[in-house]
């Protein structure tokens, strides 16, 4: 389940008004989330939650649900 907080960070980082984001949503279907903006989204999340992702964690994420679970573990 994607939290409103994570959804808001993603939408703000991508300058989107609204977009449906679910567990299985992948970055490629979210408007504006491309290879160039990916790092920007990740850093926005890190700053907002006060957490740090490792390089390999970022590379291996497959969808937003995995991203949420990774955040949950780190903020545990």
């Amino acid at each position: 389940m994607i939290s409103e907080r994570l959804k808001k960070i993603i939408l703000e980082a991508l300058q989107l008004d609204d977009f449906d984001i679910h567990d299985d949503t992948t970055a490629n279907i979210i408007p504006g989330w491309d290879s160039l903006s990916h790092v920007r989204v990740i850093i926005a999340i890190e700053e907002n939650y006060g957490i740090r992702f490792k390089t390999l964690e970022v590379i291996r994420l497959e969808n937003v649900g995995q991203l949420q679970r990774l955040i949950d573990v780190k903020t545990g």
Binding site: N28, G32, S35, I59
Partner: protein
């Protein structure tokens, strides 16, 4: 070192064979994967496996002159597959593996365009793409004879006597590479062995390449910068290449710096946006163990070189051993095999502050104190065998410090776009290639500052505005044919942003929001990120004499009237 090695060799295969004979245990390619031990191909081993692939490919019917598209992601066997094709005298053509954003139909359309234009004979790809690619074999007018999945082949236990010898001459075609573009506007360039070898010889000298060098690259190999500078150059001369996955690098740009540090890399080529990305998006605490003192040249190429990008990159990485003189630049294109000009090794690319007022009139004058100036970055002097001219729109030569179109004559110039005489005639005249780039000459060095063509360069990738206008024009709510797309400079990312102006009947803000989203999503189908969408009312766009919206005039109007708010 270069002349001694290349003398007497007529083909790329001759060089590869010689590299394996003189130093079979020397590293050829270090295949880098984040979080894993890299796979290290020695020259002896990569030639052995290339020979196995060559025989298997020959058994599949591939022979001299066949054009073989390779659509394979970052994989250690990519290199021996490529070399195996080449050793048969066939022409490898690396195509981009579709990322998940690209709609399968758009990928298929792009591929069909390439098949038509380039006359592809075989497609070598991964099983995952089979359902998309296979129907093309039976499609009407298809030249494709077979789709092959070489990564599925079991070659272990097989033996071959030696790397094949094609007995080709230097004039035989060596490879085919495509210009960018998404839906069939690609132009293919065929290069001969002689062109590639001459380029390796002359460009290698321009950067003083030597036995102690090691190239580190994340560049995709379907792009001329990746293919020629970071693949043919090292592999021809037997200099180790550390190849990263482009997809991994863009997700975690720090891996390039890690690879340089671990492997003691000395040379890398980067498009301008990469300097911004690595300066702005990598944090200090990710830089543990990063040491950049081994680098002797980072060559900025494929996008206009921006002084601010160099400055912020140096400022961030000087504490990690990056030296100022490492910041180099070059001007290159697939039509001249790769480089036309290059800055000197051991010397930072020169910055020149010019008065904007005179620049807009095509005249270069140093900026005076307090005056509005633009910092231009040198792309260096012509490499040997290459000659440049700066021309007026009428084709007359301009003197130093005057802005005009750059035309190039080179020993490594292409002979024309493959199967495309119309496009060839537009750019190739009396042995000169008209680049469509604007620039000037100052104190012997060339500065590239803009483009005559409408092409957009986003993160080093050439994108035709027509491709974007085509998909946006099909979005419901957009008036058919009433769309223009263009790129505008973005200082933050160090590349361009794509803007679309589309006439529509939408009036309420809620409808405009929906339409903007639909337009951005249409761009995603062709793997293009549209950053800004403007929706003026009908009859806003200025028409050209042909009745179509005039791109340049509308871009100027949009910047003045729409983007200011």
């Amino acid at each position: 070192m270069i002349d001694t090695f290349l003398d007497g060799k007529e083909t790329i295969s001759d060089c590869w064979r010689s590299n394996a004979e003189r130093a079979p245990h020397r590293e050829a390619v270090v295949h880098y994967v984040a979080g894993e031990e890299p796979y290290r191909w020695t020259w002896g081993e990569i030639l052995r496996v290339s020979s196995l692939y060559a025989r298997a490919l020959k058994d599949q019917g591939i022979h001299k002159g066949d054009i073989c598209a390779i659509i394979i992601r970052h994989h250690k066997d990519f290199y021996p597959i490529y070399m195996g094709i080449s050793s048969l005298g066939a022409l490898p053509a690396v195509l981009a593996y579709p990322n998940s954003r690209l709609h399968p139909d758009k990928f298929r359309q792009g591929l069909e365009g390439m098949v038509r234009r380039s006359g592809l004979d075989y497609i070598l790809t991964e099983k995952d793409l089979g359902s998309v690619v296979n129907p093309m074999v039976t499609g009407s007018g298809s030249t494709i004879r077979a789709v092959l999945y070489p990564l599925e082949w079991s070659l272990e236990g097989e033996t071959v006597e030696r790397f094949p010898s094609t007995e080709e001459g230097g004039d035989a075609p060596c490879l085919l590479q495509h210009s960018s573009g998404t839906t069939g506007l690609q132009k293919a360039v065929v290069l001969t062995h002689r062109s590639v070898l001459e380029h390796v010889r002359r460009y290698g000298k321009a950067i003083d390449i030597g036995e102690d060098d090691k190239i580190v690259s994340w560049l995709p190999l379907y792009h001329d910068m990746g293919l020629i500078a970071a693949f043919y150059l090292p592999l021809t001369l037997g200099i180790p290449l550390v190849q990263l996955d482009p997809f991994e690098w863009v997700s975690a740009p720090v891996i390039l710096l890690e690879a340089v540090s671990r492997e003691n890399g000395t040379l890398a080529w980067l498009p301008n946006f990469a300097y911004n990305l690595m300066a702005d998006r990598i944090r200090e605490d990710d830089l543990d163990g990063v040491r950049l003192g081994s680098l002797r040249m980072l060559v900025n190429c494929s996008e206009p070189v921006r002084a601010e990008s160099h400055k912020k990159f140096l400022s961030k990485y000087a504490p990690f051993g990056l030296r100022r003189e490492v910041l180099a630049a070059c001007y290159a294109m697939a039509e001249t095999t790769f480089a036309a000009t290059q800055t000197l090794p051991g010397k930072e690319a020169r910055n020149l502050s010019v008065a904007r007022e005179d620049l807009s009139a095509g005249v270069i004058r140093p900026v005076s104190p307090g005056e509005n100036g633009r910092v231009c970055v040198s792309s260096g002097t012509p490499i040997s065998g290459c000659e440049l001219r700066v021309l007026t729109d009428d084709g007359n030569a301009l003197p130093e410090d005057r802005v005009g179109e750059i035309a190039i004559r080179s020993v490594s110039l292409f002979n024309g776009y493959h199967n495309n005489p119309e496009k060839t005639d537009e750019v190739l005249k009396d042995g000169w290639y008209f680049s469509g780039d604007y620039g000037f000459l100052n104190a012997g060095e060339y500065f590239i500052i803009g483009r005559k063509k409408d092409i957009i360069i986003l993160a080093g990738k050439n994108i035709y505005p027509e491709d974007i206008e085509d998909v946006v024009g099909q979005v419901e709510g957009v008036l058919p044919g009433r769309v223009v797309a263009f790129g505008v400079e973005d200082d933050i990312t160090g590349t361009e942003q794509i803007c679309v102006v589309a006439e529509s009947q939408a009036d309420a803000e809620v409808n405009k929001k929906k339409l903007r989203l639909a337009i951005i999503q249409a761009g995603m189908e062709i793997d293009v990120t549209i950053s800004k969408v403007y929706l003026p009312p009908p009859r806003w766009l200025i028409k050209s004499s042909s009745g179509k919206p005039a791109r340049k005039a509308n871009m100027d109007r949009a910047i003045a009237e729409l983007m200011a708010y």
